[in-house]
């Protein structure tokens, strides 16, 4: 009887932990594969909105498309990529620190414009 109860408890514990672990793994999987499409039109970010919001610990791929060639710089994490009409560019961010990080553009077209604030990457704490 005692042995039965013990086994039963073990199974119950395993039964409740396993799905939780599986769901957690699935969520982690989901998190690891997260892609955020960021579209620039007329030198403004039109999608996903005024700020890109992720959480600390996320690994996200920011996939940039722009209707004209541009250099993009994520401050803080200090990542730089070049994007253009025929050249979508990916920026992989391992969000180890929370904060609100500026993304600026450099060298638009031929007008010789300097820094322009495009959007912010907001990493919220978990």
């Amino acid at each position: 009887m005692d042995a039965f109860r013990r086994t039963w408890l073990v199974w119950l514990a395993a039964g409740s932990v396993m799905p939780a672990a599986l769901i957690r793994a699935a969520v982690a999987q989901d998190r690891a594969q997260r892609v955020i499409e960021v579209r620039i039109e007329k030198r403004k970010v039109v999608a996903p909105g005024p700020a890109i919001r992720i959480a600390k610990g996320d690994v996200v791929e920011l996939r940039w498309t722009s209707d004209e060639p541009v250099e993009l710089h994520l401050h803080g994490y200090d990542l730089t990529i070049h994007a253009g009409p025929d050249k979508p560019a990916a920026m992989v961010v391992k969000a180890h620190a929370a904060g609100r990080f500026l993304i600026t553009s450099h060298g638009w077209g031929k007008g010789g414009h300097g820094h322009d604030t495009l959007t912010y990457l907001e990493v919220s704490p978990r």
């Binding site: 403004k44 803080g76 620190a97 077209g109 007008g111 010789g112 704490p125």
Partner: protein, 599 residues
Amino acid sequence: MRKVRRPGLALPAAALMTVLGAAPVQAHAFGPRYDLPLPLELYLVGAGCAVALSFAIMAVFFHAPPARTDRPRIDLLRFRPVQVLFHPAAIAVVRSISVGLFLLVLAAGLFGTQDMLKNLAPTFVWIIWWVGLAYVAALGGNLWSACNPWSIVFAGLERSIRKFGPRTRLDFGLAYPSWLGVWPAVALFGLFAWFELISEAAKLPAPLATAILVYSGLTWLGMIAFGRNVWLAHGEAFSLVFGVLGRFAPIGAPERDSPDGPPRRWHLRPYAAGLVVESPCRLSMTAFVLLMLSTVTFDGFKETPLWAGLLGWVALRQWLQPLLLGLHDLGFDYRAVLGTVTLAVFPILFLAVYLGFAWLAKRASGSARPLAEISGLFVFSLAPIAIAYHLAHYLSYLLLAGQLVVPLVSDPFGIGWNLFRTAGYGIDIGIVGAEFVWHFAVVAIVVGHVLAIGVAHFVALRLFGTAAAALRSQYPFLVLMVAYTMASLWILSQPIVASPSLIALRAPSDTVFLAPFEFREFCLDLAAQDEIRYDFRSDQPVEFNIHYHEDMKIQFPVQLSGTTVHADKFVADGDRLYCLMWTNQGLGTSSLTYRLMRP
């Protein structure tokens, strides 16, 4: 683009403007700022705690008999290790380090690289000295009085000149006019605030070092005229600033028999106890404290989306366009001008509101004491709110941007040195968690608010004698303090944004995008009878003009409104700089394609 400058246009800050006005305009704050705005729930918790604690304090403490505010206190000089700090050798070391750093910053600013992040001067002055020393002064004690390089250098010269005879003096010992109060410090701190918060040149090494030299000259002149200690007490703005912060601190100023004598007592006391003043401070000191508070608030306010929106609204006003255009073409950025005006209005507004509430407190308590006395006694009670806000606002900035100093100590001039093997250090953005910063901010704001009420409570009990009159006097101040605390919390809950950009066009043909209130211009020199052809198309209606400046007036040979497509030619009627300007009048972003041709 050529900037037209007219010598006849002088601002009060003309001396600084000529040095600093030529700086390029950038929309970035100095050093990195990655703060997340305070989340709504923490904002509400902070606000709720502040209001609830206000009433709790009113209900409980105001019925208690007046207590001595400077108790408990401990004389630190009883401890032998503390006495070592006042050993001549220790003082000499502190003074040498201070003067050494002062000279190093000046040298780096004047002779080092002009890249602001690779030169020690901007980081050291703005992050380590201005923000960092404020933390030390408010949380520990007023360190500035021990390491003020202007005072140290002058005192050193005084000592060396005394060798020539006991009567030889470095200063003229003029009698300081009593009516002048601390107004020189008010004026100098006002100029400093403008330099810090408005001028883009403050971040640039050489202009920064030049400004320090100018201020050093003024300080030493003041010391030569009136004597070192007189000037430190009335004219040296930073001694007064750190002095106010030091009143909040738990470590008081060492008590001495003479200003330069050995310390007799050095007290450790509760936070904010030093803000409970025995005698009312003068109007100039009241103005100085309120100037400090207003610049702290303005500093945060100018980074909120509300301020950015206000700038945009102003830029869109048709009736302001000639003025903005004029300022722009004279080389002034309208954002800087508007910031300057607001910076000037803020302290006046603070003073008016504060005096209004002091008057209400006088009425409520039925006191016969003059308003000047009441306002001079309670003004320090607002300081904890501003100090708490300042600490909350700058915590992550100090911890993140402060790291910039690590590589810079190895290479202060930015010329490739690596003295301490730290030149390659990169900023660790994960050094402090956002949640920690948020909780620190809310706790600091609530504690600051409670301390402010506590200070006002002690002052009121001492001033009005009876608990009932004291209680009545506190209702107006309570309203003021709750409002001030809410404003601080509100700023912390706002995302930090840069103000909208205004960029001159450089290419004779291009496609540019204009936000709803934006205007752009292309300027070129033409001789009389020169002809240009131009055309443009826009998907939003734009206002278009060709303008030039004639003395103080702006002439508009061409002016069109609500245009989307236009092509024409233009013949110059004189030798001068003409500017073609487009302002987006639509509600959406305008894509503007323009071409300019000379036959």
